[in-house]
């Protein structure tokens, strides 16, 4: 099963401003498991890419907030998730693009973020 996860940054990831509850290690974990991952943020795309480069996490996409439909069109997956902290800018855009939506506190409960040693 192919799962694609789009991460918001600010308020969602630990490197965001404000910091969110999802750690970069969690992102590494799903990347290692073969998920399609990337970020969808109001930060400039080059700035998003710089964050991933700085943490040595290869990503499949970096897009601006309104570009989730393009992500869905470009990548074939069985399920598409967007994780974010804003009703208007994350949940709304995600649902309109046909993504499942998770708040950060919901996302950390997902089994993807558990290591194989501790499933």
């Amino acid at each position: 099963m192919v799962i694609l996860i789009s991460f918001d940054i600010d308020g969602t990831l630990e490197v965001g401003d404000p910091p969110g509850v999802l750690t970069m290690d969690m992102v590494r974990m799903v990347a290692k498991k073969g998920f399609l991952i990337g970020s969808c943020s109001d930060r400039p795309m080059s700035g998003q890419q710089a964050i991933w480069d700085r943490h040595e996490i290869p990503v499949d996409f970096v897009v601006s907030k309104q570009m989730l439909p393009e992500v869905k069109a470009k990548f074939e997956a069985d399920v598409y998730y967007h994780i974010g902290d804003r009703e208007d800018l994350d949940k709304k855009y995600a649902l309109e693009a046909g993504f499942e939506f998770l708040w950060p506190h919901e996302a950390i409960e997902m089994p993807w973020f558990l290591s194989d040693d501790n499933p």
């Binding site: 401003d17 109001d42 930060r43 400039p44 795309m45 080059s46 700035g47 710089a50 897009v63 601006s64 907030k65 309104q66 570009m67």
Partner: protein, 443 residues
């Protein structure tokens, strides 16, 4: 001491006033800034008031004067970026009482008075003149310049501070109320239709593009140039916290806020304070930094026929502002080494510089001009400060940059394609603002 707003007689709002009587007789010498932050962290040492004291002390030290030489203080008492202290929200009295408070516990946290500053800067023993210039540093500067010129103060500190709190910009306070009384909804920056603050500018920009056959994409070089300059501004938010270039690709991929105004056409609200020390040209000669002389100040007080100014009204007003600026300084547009007009919203910067006729520009020319070399290394620098887009919403980077450039203290941001001799800065709005002409020479 109760501080008043400046009287109407302080402002040069009409054409035909001739050369400013105090041309070259008032100088900026010292500069001080606090660090920037996205929002207040809730600590007493990082309040807006603390930032203000720090910036003022740095300006005094930078000028190399003793605090007892300061006899004037001009500030903007309104410090909100759009963040409001909600009625009923508990006030942290431990933080209030960490300073010498005034009768208003939010003084020094979410607003600022000269009285609060004087209570908390005991070294300012000789301040006899205080006055307010509300809205932004551009306003405080013209008030201070006129006060020094008129002899109401000899050595005067000028301050603009900003507080930013948790929550979203302009989503609280009256903006979140069910009912809005009075005329607030039709005030500047507001509309009764409910769209974002940049809506009016977006409408004017759309009409500008239609009239002259231009496009929003043509703003990309200006935006990249502004952020580049901002990243060379060590006092600024982006340089201090997120040193990321904004590429044309980034800009063009941003979502619309009010089409054709995108996310990056809006500036980022931050906490920061900035201060300058103004004095008489005579006294400035003995101070630590090179004086930067004020050749003129001019103010725009345009009124629109309806709720949102039309492009025609904007252009009439910026044209008039340009003429007032040059008339009072006794110069022409050809004398400008560079310009630092306001940019927060980015989509109205071209209205300001076309009104000036910067580098021979006519209405409709600016976006084509942006496709040429507008860098600090070139012969036609546009906004070398980077403005609010380059360093966050302070509304004072443009003034700091003018002073630093003319003092030879702009560091990596120094203009090299022109000799920095005369510059103009000011804003905010094309239909209303305050503007200053700066010069390395008093003549």
């Amino acid at each position: 001491m109760t501080t008043q707003n400046a009287p109407a007689s302080f402002y040069r709002t009409t054409e035909g006033l001739g050369v400013w009587p105090h041309k070259g007789k008032v100088a900026a010498v010292g500069i001080g800034h606090s660090p920037t932050a996205r929002r207040w962290d809730g600590t007493p040492e990082n309040t807006m008031g603390a930032n203000s004291i720090l910036a003022l002390r740095r300006a005094i030290e930078d000028a190399g004067v003793s605090p007892d030489q300061i006899d004037g203080l001009v500030i903007d008492p309104v410090t909100t970026t759009g963040a409001h202290w909600e009625a009923g929200d508990p006030i942290p009295m431990d933080i209030v009482n960490a300073y010498n408070p005034t009768d208003d516990p939010l003084d020094g946290i979410a607003k600022l008075s000269c009285e609060w500053l004087l209570k908390n800067m005991p070294e300012l023993t000789n301040v006899k003149f205080t006055m307010y210039g509300t809205g932004c540093m551009s306003h405080a500067i013209v008030v201070a310049a006129q006060a020094v010129g008129d002899g109401l103060t000899n050595t005067c500190l000028v301050l603009k501070s900003w507080h930013n709190l948790e929550g979203r910009y302009n989503q609280a306070g009256v903006s979140a109320a069910e009912n809005v009384s009075g005329s607030y909804a039709v005030g500047p920056g507001r509309t009764i239709w409910g769209p974002p603050g940049c809506f009016g500018t977006a409408l004017q920009f759309a009409e500008y593009c239609r009239k002259y056959g231009k496009s929003h994409d043509m703003m990309a070089p200006f935006m990249a140039n502004s952020r580049r300059n901002g990243l060379l501004f060590p006092e600024g938010y982006w340089a201090q916290h997120r040193p990321e270039q904004l590429t044309p690709e980034d800009y063009l991929a941003a979502r619309w806020i009010a089409k054709p105004a995108s996310l990056f056409d809006n500036d980022i609200p931050v906490m920061v304070s900035g201060a300058y020390l103004f004095t008489t040209a005579e006294r400035a000669k003995d101070m630590k930094q090179k004086p930067v002389y004020i050749l003129n100040h001019a103010s725009s007080r345009g009124t629109a026929r309806s709720l949102t100014p039309t492009l025609d009204e904007i252009q009439a007003e910026t044209g008039s502002t340009g003429r007032k600026i040059f008339e009072g300084a006794g110069i022409t547009a050809d004398d400008l080494s560079f310009e630092n007009m306001y940019d927060g919203f980015a989509l109205f910067h071209q209205f300001h510089i076309e009104g000036l006729g910067y580098r021979g520009m006519k209405f409709g020319d600016a976006l084509d001009f942006y496709q040429t070399d507008i860098s600090i290394e070139g012969p036609n620098p546009v906004l070398p400060s980077g403005g609010n887009i380059g360093s966050g919403r302070s509304r004072f980077w443009m003034h700091t940059d003018c002073i630093q450039q003319l003092q030879g203290r702009a560091g990596a941001r120094s203009v090299t394609g022109v000799k920095p001799e005369t510059a103009v800065s000011g804003g905010p709005m094309p239909m209303g603002g305050n503007f200053t002409v700066w010069s390395a020479s008093p003549d």
